[in-house]
């Protein structure tokens, strides 16, 4: 990791007695794509708003580009934010919305026009320049909001659930576009999301938050495969948490273990794997791309397994062998 362009130290934000952000330490590297993942109320949005300057921290400090941000109001911070609802100015057309930030800086009109054209070309919305936001589709609005926040070339771009207002199909395409734009502009992105798939698919680094605390941070796959605790395992995706007598059934030691459903192999594929046993198939469901299989031990312990739709699914009611690699089970303290 290169030298951080933003440092957050022991940051705390309070709403009355509630600690919305609690002792968060975080370094943000130049040019990286960082995702803040957490359920609603985990403090991820508050942390983002604190960086933007909208929530005064109760304790700790935020440093951007070597400058302490304490007491620096939002309009003087070298960061820009893309809001969840986009917050486009309804009385301004697309070009004026995108150029808004440059006008505040007093940039010359010709220069503003040039840079707005450039920004619109980047996301192919040049033909919409004269439209008002209420005559744009969701995807178009999202692009306007992104370009409006990017045009001032901030040190840091903050994105609050940038894809949540889009429908599913559009989201996948927009996700690719967002990643491409981030690489192209080379600005550090900090994205807040509650969607694990989105966070893992987009980010260079993934930070998981819960109840105001930063639980784990690292490369997405590392966080996904080796969650530091039970909450991280649950927030980052589907997971079996096995503990107590169920753990003994699976030949695991004391404590709680996390096993991802897709790491559990069934039937012939289970042969030769160090952990596993026999179980009954009690339920089979399809999500389209995957089969979701629910297994039950004789004593009633449940495990869910996932396999690709291209594989032949087991028949409910039958008993079969299952197994998983030793490193598929990760110890997770509560």
């Amino acid at each position: 990791m290169s030298a951080p362009i933003a440092r957050i130290e022991r940051l705390g934000c309070r709403f009355g007695a509630l600690a919305a952000v609690d002792g968060v330490d975080l370094d943000i590297a130049a040019g990286e794509f960082l995702a803040l993942l957490g359920a609603s109320g985990s403090g991820k949005s508050t942390l983002l708003r604190a960086i933007a300057g909208f929530e005064p921290p109760a304790e700790g400090r935020i440093e951007i580009d070597g400058r302490d941000m304490a007491g620096v109001p939002p309009h003087r911070r070298p960061v820009n934010m893309m809001f969840q609802s986009y917050a486009l100015f309804p009385h301004l057309d697309v070009a004026s919305n995108i150029g808004f930030g440059l006008r505040q800086e007093g940039v010359a009109a010709a220069e503003i026009a040039r840079r707005v054209d450039e920004a619109m070309a980047m996301v192919a919305i040049g033909h919409l320049a004269g439209r008002k936001p209420d005559r744009l589709s969701g995807g178009e609005r999202q692009r306007v909001a992104l370009m409006r926040a990017l045009i001032k070339r901030p040190m840091l771009l903050l994105l609050d659930e940038p894809l949540s207002a889009l429908d599913r199909k559009l989201r996948a395409a927009t996700r690719r576009e967002l990643a491409a734009i981030q690489r192209q502009v080379g600005i550090a992105f900090v994205m807040v999301t509650h969607d694990a798939e989105e966070a893992i698919g987009l980010a260079d680094r993934l930070a998981v938050m819960d109840r105001g605390k930063l639980l784990q941070i690292g490369p997405p796959r590392q966080v996904y495969d080796r969650p530091a605790n039970r909450r991280v395992a649950q927030v980052t995706g589907e997971v079996n948490i096995v503990e107590g007598s169920d753990a003994t059934w699976l030949d695991l030691g004391a404590g709680a273990w996390a096993i991802r459903p897709e790491r559990i192999m069934l039937g012939e594929r289970a042969a030769g794997l160090p952990r596993g046993g026999m179980a009954e198939v009690v339920e089979l469901r399809s999500t389209g791309a995957l089969w979701q299989v629910t297994l039950a031990s004789e004593r009633g312990a449940r495990l869910s397994a996932a396999l690709l739709s291209s594989q032949i699914p087991p028949t409910p009611g039958t008993r079969l062998a299952f197994g998983f690699a030793a490193d598929a089970a990760v110890p997770v303290p509560p």
């Binding site: 009385h91 505040q104 001032k152």
Partner: protein, 262 residues
């Protein structure tokens, strides 16, 4: 659920409309009365309207009313808009609750009491009564209306817009001008029109606060009516009703038109 229009509804509606508007219609009809006697029908005529321009006192009073109305409405709109913004956007500041109540108080306070209080204040401060004091009195009455209209509209405007403006480098005070104010214009205009109407048809406050040279139209009508109702008064009153109705209509179109749009 089906909503029929039963005869009983029609009767209730007719009775209600008659109760509300029969006196006004009567007044308007009699303003076209040929006869000099206000209560005796003598055929249709425009003679009282034609005669109006010659009634110097009445015309004078109408202009005074208009001048006072415009000044009072402008003053009330300036103060009321800022108050509405403060009530909706400044968060929980000390005295917010009290401010909200105090602004609304003139709306419910009996006008005679408000008028008396203003009169006492003007005397205590040694302010000479005239058009200026009537303007102040009407502004006091109208500030609450403007603040309420602006506040209601502002509550529908996403506060994230101001945050977005600030995030993009707009300093706090300017944020109001570029963020909500362009969206608030219809509400501000509606507030101004309501304030104008309040001032145009006020008699009580004007009577308390007026001095030499500040006889408003309602005051003139009232004093003439005490000497006997002439068709001329019917005519000027009909015109006043027309102006007020048109203004209120415009104001409600402004309020509705913006509330419907997101």
């Amino acid at each position: 659920m089906k909503r029929g229009f039963a005869p009983v509804h029609g009767v209730a509606l007719a009775l209600g409309l008659v109760f509300l508007y029969a006196p006004i219609v009567l007044l308007a009809v009699y303003s076209f009365n040929e006869s000099r006697l206000a209560t005796l029908w003598g055929g249709w005529s425009l003679r009282w309207y034609r005669g109006l321009p010659e009634n110097r006192a009445l015309i004078e009073a109408a202009w005074t009313s208009l001048r006072i109305g415009i000044a009072a409405a402008t003053l009330a709109t300036a103060v009321g808009t800022l108050t509405g913004i403060a009530l909706d956007r400044l968060g929980r500041f000390a005295g917010r609750w009290a401010l909200g109540g105090l602004v609304a108080l003139p709306l419910v306070l009996p006008e005679a009491i408000l008028g008396l209080a203003l009169l006492l204040t003007f005397i205590a401060l040694g302010i000479e009564r005239g058009q200026g004091t009537v303007i102040l009195a009407h502004a006091v009455l109208a500030v609450g209306y403007v603040a309420l209209v602006v506040q209601a509209r502002l509550a529908l405007i996403d506060p994230r817009l101001e945050e977005a403006a600030r995030d993009l480098g707009c300093p706090p005070l300017k944020t109001l001008a570029v963020g909500p104010v362009p969206l608030l214009w219809p509400a501000i205009m509606a507030g101004w029109l309501l304030a104008l109407v309040l001032s145009l048809d006020d008699l009580v406050l004007a009577s308390f606060a007026s001095g030499p040279g500040s006889t408003t139209l309602p005051m003139r009508i009232f004093s003439q009516a005490r000497l006997g109702v002439t068709p001329e008064i019917n005519a000027i009153a009909t015109l006043l009703i027309g102006v007020v109705a048109a203004t209120v209509l415009l104001a409600s179109v402004l309020i509705k038109g913006t509330a419907g749009r997101r």
